[in-house]
């Protein structure tokens, strides 16, 4: 025993995290088979990683491939772990950290877009104002009667956030967002 050394605690040594978490967008190409999304989500919940947004859909029907876009946050160390842990999943073909890739390509960040449907109900001035602002945001009306509009808006998450915020006092009653779809600029594929 070295009594001069202060005991620090537990059988499980918990190091203080000094790094600042970063927000990254990952693209995961997977076989479109039952349970594959559960494997990905289970990995995140089981290992305590964050999911800020998750989008999934089949992208290549003949090859049965789906593309999952995940926005997550963590230190660079955790982000590297997430990538390698995802790659371990048997039906995962590949994982690209789009944020890292953007940096390698000399770009600021990957292209990210989100679609939202926003239902606003009301009459009178609020209704006129909602339509005017929607026009300014290039949101289109996809359903309406005399008492409501449903707007479709596409853009960066921050633009969608802003649109929702200004619709709130104008009779906003329902929101549906798709989550982020993302890819890198330039001619190369993932």
């Amino acid at each position: 025993m070295n009594p001069h050394l202060q005991p620090t605690g537990s059988a499980y040594f918990i190091a203080k995290e000094t790094q600042v978490p970063e927000r990254h967008t990952l693209s995961v190409l997977v076989d479109n088979e039952p349970g594959v999304l559960a494997r990905v989500i289970g990995l995140f919940s089981g290992r305590g990683y964050n999911i800020e947004s998750l989008t999934v859909s089949e992208t290549e029907h003949e090859k049965h491939l789906s593309r999952i876009t995940i926005v997550t946050s963590g230190t660079s160390h955790v982000l590297e772990q997430i990538k390698h842990q995802l790659e371990r999943i048997v039906p995962v073909h590949g994982v690209v950290d789009l944020t890292v890739r953007a940096g390698e390509l000399g770009q600021e960040r990957p292209l990210e877009r989100e679609l939202a449907l926003v239902k606003v109900a009301g009459t009178g001035d609020n209704r006129v104002e909602a339509l005017r602002l929607a026009d300014a945001f290039r949101a289109s009306v996809i359903d309406a009667n005399t008492e409501h509009f449903i707007f479709e808006i596409t853009g960066k998450g921050s633009k969608v956030d802003q649109f929702i915020a200004i619709m709130r006092p104008l009779g906003l009653v329902e929101i549906c967002r798709t989550g982020v779809a993302a890819m890198n600029r330039g001619p190369e594929s993932m």
């Binding site: 025993m1 070295n2 050394l5 202060q6 005991p7 620090t8 605690g9 537990s10 059988a11 499980y12 040594f13 918990i14 190091a15 997977v30 076989d31 039952p34 349970g35 559960a38 494997r39 289970g42 089981g46 160390h77 590297e80 772990q81 390698h84 842990q85 790659e87 371990r88 999943i89 048997v90 039906p91 995962v92 073909h93």
Partner: protein, 593 residues
């Protein structure tokens, strides 16, 4: 049933299962029947290529298959029914996942039309086992069944090995489908990288050649890479003259009698191994994963070293410890490159390592596994040493349960070969050793298989004595009986003011009578002078044996890296007074556990 006639043949799902097992080289199957696997059991009844071992609990089937796998290098196979059959297998699956053991588990499932209806003995097997397997499948079409089972064997045994589950609904077992033989059509998404990056291996060899205080730290990955990897490791040690230590899982890859052997490292590892890890300048980690029982306090782990890490799993590299050089690949193949490059490029000057070896000799002289001998009471360490001396010249396999006895076995039983040591490392599953011994004995009929057990652990899967008797598997269950959950008690002494909350077993069964009740042989020994005769009796009995070895009740396992401390802050046996033990971890530390 030869392979030739099975080309694309029409069969029932159950026939497909049995044929696929045969075609994947399965000779033994550990299982337990039930409603949802009856068609498969009916097929098993009508063939004689696969021997089925009937266990007494599905967890036992899992550990037996693990022991079988670990001792042979082949996949272990188990067959259980739906619902409770599957849930009982979960502990063994997670155990195999953490220790990278290839295990193929076939589970019955309720008919596809009943899935989701809360049917009798239904559970969401693929959902429950998803996080505790490398991969799992629910097969809904008998035409997919053969290919799925072949793929299951491929996934379980390649890359970093692990457990897989194939869940087969009962209607699929009855339905007709087309059998396809195993073929090499690996799925695009699963392509484990086995060959290490040559440039990185060159850099590693250069770094190793420049080391003044190097150490090799190896693990279960070397054992998993096959006997050739262990051979290459020995060659690398001879060439370089480096000292070598190993994790619990890696024991036997380098012989304990080897000159460069420092003993196991980690929480209960040797003083010399841990001190050498702490003071080294170049650490070469091969097939180990910087587990928290190994590293101790992370911010004081080998602070002045360059670290090389060879692992087949990319996610193991930089997970717990940041390394300078990560090499992804099969340990055997990377070792082959290392040995070749070292021979080609390095003029070994072993004299440069003399000061390092002198330092190591000083640490060795502390004799950290020493204990006080007692003429009247069997010391647990003494029992292991005698067991070792009396069994080392035989064809011996050792399994263990989990606790103090496991650590003493790891410290004091010298392993000369890989695949001779079966223990639950990552998950720490009490109850592993007895069924694992059964699995080992089934694979090695003439070998001496000893489960070094604790009195508490062994009662968790004691029922498999009945299976051992049924299959005339003469396993030897060597119980270090101190009437305590020794390791729990040791931690209560360290962390909880010696308040021994529920760690004492007041009603201990009579193990001798218990052995006899099962149809085995019971031995009790409580005198050091009688021990050798008793062990020899155990070895010579051709039956399963429960050996009740009454040892000193309050012995503790040292040396030990106390909670959250660094490698160079070990508590050594000669320093472990009652006061030092009580104060090893302070109040602040106690809160954190």
């Amino acid at each position: 049933m030869s392979n030739g006639q099975n080309e694309r043949r029409e069969m029932s799902g159950a026939e497909i299962v049995v044929q696929a097992l045969i075609d994947n080289g399965v000779k033994h199957l550990f299982g337990y029947p039930g409603g949802a696997v009856l068609p498969i059991y009916d097929e098993l009844f009508q063939q004689d290529e696969i021997e089925h071992i009937l266990v007494r609990h599905e967890q036992g089937a899992g550990h037996a298959a693990e022991g079988y796998a670990r001792s042979t290098g082949k996949a272990g196979v188990m067959l259980v029914t739906s619902g409770p059959g599957a849930t009982n297998a979960v502990t063994a699956l997670q155990d195999a996942l953490m220790d990278s053991i290839p295990l193929v588990c076939l589970t019955g499932q309720v008919p596809t039309t009943l899935i989701g209806s809360d049917a009798f003995q239904e559970c969401d097997t693929v959902g429950i086992t998803r996080p505790c397997t490398k991969h799992n499948w629910l097969v809904k079409d008998p035409n997919d069944l053969a290919a799925t089972i072949h793929e299951a064997f491929h996934v379980a045994t390649t890359g970093r090995p692990g457990p897989v589950v194939v869940d087969i609904p009962k209607d699929v077992q009855f339905a007709k489908g087309t059998y396809v033989p195993p073929q090499i059509a690996p799925r695009m998404s699963y392509q484990p990288k086995v060959q290490g990056d040559l440039e990185k291996i060159k850099a590693a060899v250069a770094l190793m050649a420049s080391a003044k205080k190097p150490i090799l730290y190896t693990g279960g990955g070397v054992v998993n890479a096959g006997p050739e990897a262990s051979h290459l490791l020995r060659e690398l040690v001879d060439l370089t003259g480096f000292p070598i230590t190993s994790t619990l899982m890696g024991l036997g890859a380098y012989p304990a009698s080897g000159r460069n052997w420092l003993g196991m490292l980690g929480m209960h590892g040797s003083y010399e191994a841990n001190m050498a890890m702490h003071d080294c300048d170049v650490m070469v980690c091969i097939g180990a994963r910087f587990d928290d029982r190994i590293t101790g306090r992370l911010d004081a782990f080998a602070p002045n070293s360059k670290k090389i890490h060879v692992d087949i799993d990319a996610s193991s590299i930089n997970k717990n410890v940041r390394v300078d050089l990560g090499i992804i690949g099969d340990c055997g193949l990377v070792l082959e490159d290392m040995v070749r490059l070292w021979r080609a490029t390095t003029k070994a000057d072993k004299k440069a390592l003399y000061p390092w070896w002198e330092q190591i000799a000083r640490w060795r002289a502390r004799d950290s596994f020493a204990y006080k001998q007692n003429p009247d009471v069997i010391m647990p360490q003494y029992a292991i040493q005698r067991l070792y001396e009396l069994t080392k010249d035989r064809d011996t396999y050792i399994t263990t349960e989990v606790g103090q006895h496991q650590m003493w076995a790891a410290q004091l039983y010298g392993f000369e070969k890989p695949n001779r040591w079966m223990t639950s490392g990552g998950l720490g599953t009490m109850g592993y050793g007895l069924p694992a011994a059964l699995g080992v004995q089934i694979a090695h009929r003439d070998a001496l298989v000893v489960d070094i057990a604790g009195d508490a652990s062994v009662q968790m899967t004691m029922q498999e004595m009945s299976a051992a008797v049924q299959y005339e598997a003469p396993i030897k269950i060597f119980i270090l009986n101190n009437q305590y959950m020794g390791m729990v008690r040791q931690w209560q002494q360290l962390l909880h003011g010696n308040r021994l909350s529920h760690s004492y077993t007041e009603a201990m069964p009579d193990f001798v009578k218990l052995a006899e009740a099962y149809g085995g042989h019971g031995i009790r020994c409580d005198k050091p002078d009688d021990l050798d005769d008793a062990i020899n009796e155990m070895i010579s009995v051709k039956k399963p044996v429960l050996f009740d070895c009454r040892v000193a009740n309050l012995a503790n396992c040292f040396p030990m890296i106390p909670s959250g401390k660094a490698h160079n802050e070990m508590l050594l046996p000669d320093e472990a007074t009652d006061e030092a033990v009580a104060n090893a971890i302070d109040a602040k530390g106690r809160e954190l556990v």
